[in-house]
C-alpha cells in the first residue's frame, strides 16, 4: 500500500487529495499506467506527464524512479512559489 497524493489541478481533475493504492508497480511510470487504466479522470489527469512533477517520499524525482519501499508518492503541476 502506498499513499498517493494529488495537488493543484491534478487534485481537482482526479477529485480527491489523497488515496491509498494497492500496487505492485516497480516505478512511478508503472504506477501512472495503473492509475490511468482505472478511470477516465485519471487518464485525463495523467495524459501529458511532461506537464507533471512527482515526489517520492517528499523528494522531487523523475517518472522512471523506482518506488521501492516508498510510502508516499505525490503528483502535481510545476511549482509556482515565490
Amino acid at each position: 500500500m502506498v499513499d498517493v497524493l494529488y495537488f493543484a489541478w491534478v487534485r481537482e481533475r482526479i477529485g480527491l487529495p489523497k488515496e491509498q493504492v494497492e500496487t505492485s508497480a516497480a516505478t512511478v511510470m508503472e504506477l501512472v499506467a495503473e492509475l490511468k487504466a482505472r478511470e477516465e479522470r485519471y487518464a485525463v489527469a495523467f495524459s501529458d506527464i511532461s506537464a507533471l512533477r512527482v515526489a517520492v517520499d517528499q523528494e522531487l524525482t523523475e517518472f522512471d524512479a523506482p518506488i521501492g519501499e516508498a510510502r508516499e508518492i505525490a503528483f502535481f503541476p510545476p511549482m509556482t512559489g515565490g
Binding site: A74, F76, P77, M79, T80, G81
Partner: protein, 146 residues
C-alpha cells in the same frame, strides 16, 4: 524559516533579522506581493504540500549556505487565501559584504519559485485559474548550475 497562513509584517521581520547578527555588513531582502494584474483579482489561493514544504525550503537554504559566506538567512512563505497587495513571502540574507547577500537572495528566490511545493490559483470575476509556471523561471535555475 516559517511556512504559515497568517499575515506577517515584513518590516518588523527585516528589523529583527538585521539586528541579530555579529560582524554583518550587508542585509538583502526581497518581499513578494500578490499582484492584481488587471484590477480583477478577487483572491489568490496558495496551496502547498505540508509534509514536503519545509524540507524542500531547508534544502534550498542549505545549498545557499554552502555556496556563499552568509551570516544568516530567512525565508517566510504564506499559504491559504490572500488578496491583492498582501505579502506572500519574503527572503532575507546577511553577510559581511553585499555580494554574497545579493547572490544568495537571488538564488533563494529562483529556487523557491520553482522547487518549493507551492501552487498559486487566481480567482477573478471570470473564474479560477492555476498560475502556470514560466519557462523563464525554469531557465533561471540554470544560471546556478555548477
Amino acid at each position: 524559516m516559517k511556512v504559515q497562513s497568517a499575515p506577517f509584517d515584513p518590516g518588523a521581520e527585516l528589523n529583527a533579522f538585521s539586528s541579530s547578527g555579529q560582524n554583518v555588513g550587508a542585509v538583502v531582502s526581497f518581499t513578494g506581493l500578490v499582484r492584481d494584474v488587471d484590477d480583477s483579482l478577487k483572491e489568490m489561493i496558495i496551496e502547498h504540500y505540508p509534509a514536503m514544504t519545509e524540507r524542500a525550503i531547508a534544502a534550498i537554504v542549505e545549498e545557499a549556505w554552502e555556496r556563499w559566506s552568509l551570516s544568516d538567512a530567512l525565508v517566510i512563505h504564506r499559504h491559504g487565501v490572500l488578496r491583492a497587495g498582501d505579502t506572500i513571502m519574503m527572503v532575507a540574507t546577511s553577510s559581511k559584504h553585499r555580494a554574497d547577500a545579493f547572490a544568495a537572495a537571488d538564488f533563494l528566490m529562483d529556487y523557491l519559485k520553482s522547487r518549493a511545493p507551492f501552487w498559486k490559483k487566481e480567482v477573478t470575476a471570470k473564474g479560477e485559474d492555476w498560475v502556470e509556471s514560466k519557462t523563464a523561471d525554469e531557465d533561471a535555475l540554470s544560471r546556478w548550475d555548477r
